[in-house]
Amino acid sequence: MSAVGAGAPRRRPFFLPFLLISLIAAGLFLAALGDVLHYSVRLFIPGSIEVGGFTLANFARLLRPIYRTVLLATLIISFLTAIFTLLLGYPVAYALVRVRRGWVRSLLIVLAITPLFTGEIVRTYAWILVLGTNGFINSILKALGIIGAPLSMLYTSFGVILALVQFSMPVMIMLLATAISHVDRSCERAAANLGASPLMVFWRVTLPLTTPGVVSGTVVIFAWTMSAFSTPQLIGGGKVLMLSNLVYLEGLTNLDFPLAAALSLLALVVAIGSLGLMRPAITRLERKATLY
C-alpha cells in the first residue's frame, strides 16, 4: 500500500501493471459501494423497485427495536464465534507449530486447512445433517439412551455459532500458528530454567508473546462473522437472524432496497470499525509483548 514512494530513484518494472490492476479492482469496489451509498439515501416506495428522492429516513428506520435486536444478536454471535474459535484454534495452532513428528504435523495441517476447500453451502448442509432432529448427534445420543426427546440444535444460535466456528477455524489457526512460530524458544527455556512450570511458561511467556496474533485472529474472525450469510440463513432457518440475512430479507423479499442499503452500511461500519480498533489494540499490547 505504501509502495507509492514519491520520486523513487529506481524504476520498478512491475509497479505500473500492479497499480493498474489494483486501481481497477478498487474502482469496481467503490462503484458498488457508491451504489449502496446512493440507495441508502433514497426514499422507499412500497410495492415498487423504483426509489424516490433524497431522504435520511432509512437510517432513522434502523433505530427501530427489531433492527437493534438483530444488530445486537449479530454482534453477540460474532463475538462468541471469535472467542470460541480462538479457544479451540489456539491448541491446534500450538500443536501444529510445536509437534515434532512430521506426519502428525501434516495430518494437523490437512485437518485444519481442508474446511477452506469445501464450499460454504456443502459444509453448511453437512451441519444440518449433523445437528438435525434426526441428525447424527441426536441419533447417537438417543441410541445410547442419554436423551429421550431429540435436542433442538438446528435453528438455534448454538447451532449457528457451532457452524461458524468450524468455518472460521482455518483462518484463526493460520494467524495463530504464524504468531506462535515467531516465539523464541530460548525464552521459554529461560523461563523453565528460572523455575517456571510448563503451565507458567505458557502463561507468562508463550501467551504474552503471541498476543498480537491472538488479537488480530479474534478481530478478523469477529469482522468476518459480522458478514456471515449462508450459515445463519441455512442453519438459523429464519429463526436466527444476522445482519446479512436481514439485508437479504429487506432487499430481495420486501424489495426495500434503501433499507437494505442502510443496513449494509451499518454492517460495514461495524466491521471496519472493529478492524480499525485492532491496530491500536495490538500496538498497545505490543508495547508489552514484542514479537518482532
Partner: protein, 378 residues
C-alpha cells in the same frame, strides 16, 4: 514424657565444602544415529569455574543442556548437589543459565526479567525488590530496572541475563558462550567482570566456549571435548604445558607438530631423528617412557623456537628459510620452512625481526624441547 536420647533426630548431614556440585556419570546422548555426547563422566567441584571447551559440534552445548535438563541423556545419570536429577524437569533443577542469545523476555522490563525467577519461587514482593536491585548493582546496571529490554545495548542485555541467572542463587551457573555475541573489546572487559562476579558470588560455574583464550583466562579447570568425548580435564596451565594428546595440543594455543621421529637414548638425553639430517635432543624426563626405536610425535610451542645468534653453538640448530612475518604488536609470528620439517612457527618478541630477516632470508633456528610435548606412537 520426653526421651531425648532415643527420639533425637539424626543430625542433618553437614555441608561438605569439598563435595561436588554436579556429577555426570557415564552420560551419553544420541541424536538419531549420531552420538553427540559419548560416555562422559565428570565431577564439577563446589565453587569452581569449569569450562567445556571444544570445536563446534563437540557436544559441549548438549552437555550443558543435559545439566540444565533441556536434553535427556540417552544413558547415564546426573547429580546436582548430591541429588539425582536425571529425570527432573528443568524448572525443578535450580540451575541458572545464561543463553547465547540471552533469551531475555521482550515483554518485560529489566526489573521484571531479573525478578522472574524469584517470583516463580514465591518470594515476597518487598524482598524481590531488594534482591533484584542487588543483582543489578552486581552487574553494574543499577537504576536501569525500568528500561525495556529492546532499549539496551548488547553488553547491557548480557548483564541482565547474568543478573537474572545469579539472582536465584542457583546451585550451578551455566553459561552458554555468553560472550560470543559481543565485540572484541567488550568481550575482554566482560571476561574480567565475569571473573570478579565469580569472586563475589562463589557460584559453581560451567562455562561453554569454543574460544581457548576465554577458557584459559576464566577457568579453574578446563574440559576439552572432541566428538562428544572428553580429551582431557586439567587446569589451564597444565593443559597448555602438558596436553594429553595431539588434539588437545593443537587445539589449545598455537603449536608446531613435527613429523614423527625415531627416538634413542643417549646418556641423559633422548635423541629424536626427524630426518636423516635433523636430530633433536631433549633431556630425559621421568614422565616419558620411550623405548629405543619407538616412533614419537613432538609438539613444540612457537615461543620455544628461537633464532640462533650467529656465533652461538647451542643444540637443536636447524637451518630454515623465512616465509612470512605476521606482526602482532607485542610479538611477531614468523613462519619459516625447514627442509624435511615443513612449516614452523616462531613467536618472537617485538618486531625488529621483520626488518632484519625479510622473507626468503636464511636463518638458523634453535628448537628447545625442554617443555615440548612428546607423545609416543602406540
Amino acid at each position: 514424657m520426653r526421651t531425648d536420647n532415643e527420639a533425637a533426630p539424626p543430625p542433618p548431614p553437614a555441608a561438605d565444602p569439598a563435595a561436588n556440585a554436579v556429577e555426570l556419570v557415564g552420560v551419553s546422548k544420541n541424536f538419531g544415529a549420531v552420538a553427540a555426547v559419548h560416555t562422559v563422566t565428570l565431577a564439577i567441584r563446589q565453587g569452581e569455574v569449569l569450562t567445556l571447551l571444544g570445536p563446534s559440534g563437540c557436544g559441549k552445548t548438549t552437555l550443558l543442556n543435559i545439566i540444565a535438563g533441556f536434553e535427556e541423556p540417552t544413558r547415564g545419570r546426573i547429580q546436582i548437589d548430591g541429588r539425582d536429577v536425571t529425570l527432573t524437569p528443568p524448572h525443578l533443577r535450580d540451575t541458572g543459565m545464561v543463553f547465547q542469545n540471552y533469551a531475555l523476555f521482550p515483554h518485560m522490563n529489566v526489573f521484571e526479567n531479573v525478578a522472574f525467577g524469584l517470583s516463580m519461587r514465591r518470594m515476597p514482593k518487598a524482598r524481590i525488590a531488594i534482591e533484584v536491585s542487588r543483582a543489578l548493582e552486581m552487574v553494574k546496571l543499577e537504576g536501569l530496572g525500568g528500561r525495556r529490554v529492546r532499549q539496551l545495548s548488547g553488553g547491557q542485555q548480557q548483564r541482565v541475563a547474568l543478573a537474572r541467572a545469579i539472582v536465584i542463587q542457583p546451585k550451578v551457573l551455566l553459561l552458554d558462550e555468553p560472550l560470543s555475541a559481543l565485540d572484541k573489546n567488550l568481550r575482554g572487559q566482560m571476561q574480567i567482570e565475569l571473573k570478579e562476579l565469580h569472586d563475589r558470588t562463589g557460584l559453581t560455574t560451567v562455562f561453554v566456549t569454543h574460544d581457548q583464550g576465554e577458557a584459559l583466562s576464566l577457568s579453574d579447570r578446563i574440559v576439552v571435548l572432541n566428538r562428544g568425548e572428553i580429551q582431557q580435564i586439567a587446569a589451564p596451565l597444565e593443559l597448555y604445558r602438558r596436553p594429553a594428546n595431539g588434539f588437545v595440543a593443537s587445539f589449545i594455543g598455537d603449536i608446531n607438530h613435527l613429523p614423527p621421529a625415531e627416538c634413542h637414548r643417549y646418556g641423559s638425553d633422548i635423541l629424536f631423528r626427524l630426518t636423516p639430517a635433523i636430530e633433536l635432543a631433549m633431556p630425559a624426563r621421568a614422565d616419558l617412557a620411550l623405548r629405543d626405536d619407538q616412533k614419537a610425535h613432538i609438539f613444540v610451542r612457537p615461543e620455544h623456537l628461537r633464532i640462533a645468534d650467529e656465533t652461538g653453538e647451542g643444540r637443536n640448530r636447524v637451518l630454515c628459510q623465512v616465509v612470512t612475518h605476521v606482526y602482532q604488536g607485542t610479538h611477531t609470528l614468523t613462519r619459516v620452512e625447514a627442509v624435511g620439517l615443513g612449516l614452523l612457527q616462531l613467536r618472537i618478541p617485538g618486531g625488529e625481526i621483520i626488518e632484519r630477516t625479510p622473507p626468503g632470508s636464511r636463518i638458523v633456528v634453535t628448537i628447545n624441547l625442554d617443555e615440548a610435548t612428546v607423545l609416543a606412537e602406540a
